[in-house]
């Protein structure tokens, strides 16, 4: 057993165990924390496969962004009364059956030989296009692009791919994020009722006063 495989076994076991805990915890806050652990383990797995940039994005976006969003919503919605309730939905037996079936199928298709031939040369994962000044006789004195391999250039290579070949989906992804932002605002914003809107000014003043009273009561 190579050291890398040992690391994989440990990290993978933690990832699977904490993912099971995510779906079995009663309290969503606990689920969220185990989800964080899963994300971090998966990031380690990415780095082991030479995907340093994706690993970093995984930590930044998932662990940094999405987790905070989840915890924020869990806190916003008061979950204190939830633990008394039933955890499982009515068709949990069917759910387990479907999940196990999918698991068996997914593992069954993992067989050596069915996938595309393995490429022993991994240098393309870290090779970048570099602009160079040509000195050739053919057309001297112009810039051309050449693929060069550099160690630890994975981020550069991914960035290069994103901004050249993948420019179209990349721009569409930016539209996607814009829509997500609009949507979160449109759906999440609290609509004032008709009377509230008419008396919005007064309404806000009243709220400020009540808050003041509460503060005074607290400090007293």
């Amino acid at each position: 057993m190579t050291p890398a495989f040992a690391v994989f076994l440990i990290v993978g076991t933690i990832a699977v165990a904490s993912s099971i805990l995510v779906i079995s915890m009663r309290n969503p806050v606990h689920s969220a924390l185990f989800l964080l652990l899963t994300f971090l383990c998966v990031a380690v797995l990415f780095v082991m496969k030479g995907a340093e940039f994706v690993g970093a994005v995984q930590v930044l976006v998932y662990a940094g962004g999405i987790m905070v969003l989840f915890l924020f919503v869990v806190m916003l919605i008061n979950v204190r009364h939830l633990p008394d309730e039933k955890v499982l939905s009515n068709f949990w037996k069917g759910g387990f059956a479907v999940g196990l079936g999918v698991f068996i199928l997914f593992v069954a298709v993992v067989r050596p030989g069915v996938y595309h031939d393995e490429q022993l040369d991994k240098s393309r994962l870290t090779s970048v296009k570099e602009r160079i000044w040509t000195e050739s006789h053919k057309n001297p004195g112009t810039y051309t692009y050449r693929r060069v391999h550099r160690t630890n250039a994975n981020s550069e290579a991914v960035g290069m791919a994103l901004y050249t070949d993948y420019l179209v989906p990349f721009e569409v992804a930016s539209l996607f994020l814009l829509v997500a932002m609009i949507g979160a605002i449109v759906i999440g914003k609290r609509e004032l009722s008709a009377t509230e809107e008419e008396t919005a000014q007064q309404f806000i003043l009243e709220r400020v006063e009540t808050e003041k009273e509460v503060k005074e009561a607290m400090s007293a």
Partner: protein
């Protein structure tokens, strides 16, 4: 570490497990927030697959696609949580099967 990384098959097994766990979570849990977390697990399983294949094939396509998947996951989480908040405001519950106005 790159040279001795575990085989693609091991990664596929792991991702299959995570995907199945996520799918089970989506079906069996009533709490909407947990359901959303289970969906994130499924997307992560896909990412593991893509990265493993990308390494195996020596092509960047899988890694770049992973970036898109992560972007989509972030956007979906934002909108999903907004819908949950709105549902909570209207009904004071975030359980999936208590959404019964629509007889399905």
């Amino acid at each position: 570490m790159l040279e001795t990384a575990p085989s693609t098959d091991a990664y596929l097994m792991l991702s299959g497990t995570l995907f199945a766990v996520g799918l089970i979570g989506v079906v069996i849990r009533r709490n909407m927030i947990t359901v959303l977390m289970a969906i994130e697990l499924m997307l992560n399983a896909v990412n593991i697959n893509l990265v493993a294949f990308s390494h195996r094939l020596g092509s960047l396509e899988g890694q770049v696609f992973t970036i898109f998947v992560i972007t989509v996951a972030a956007g979906e989480a934002a909108v999903g949580l907004a819908i949950i908040i709105q549902l909570y405001r209207l009904k004071s519950t975030i359980n999936v099967d208590e959404a019964r106005m629509l007889n399905g």
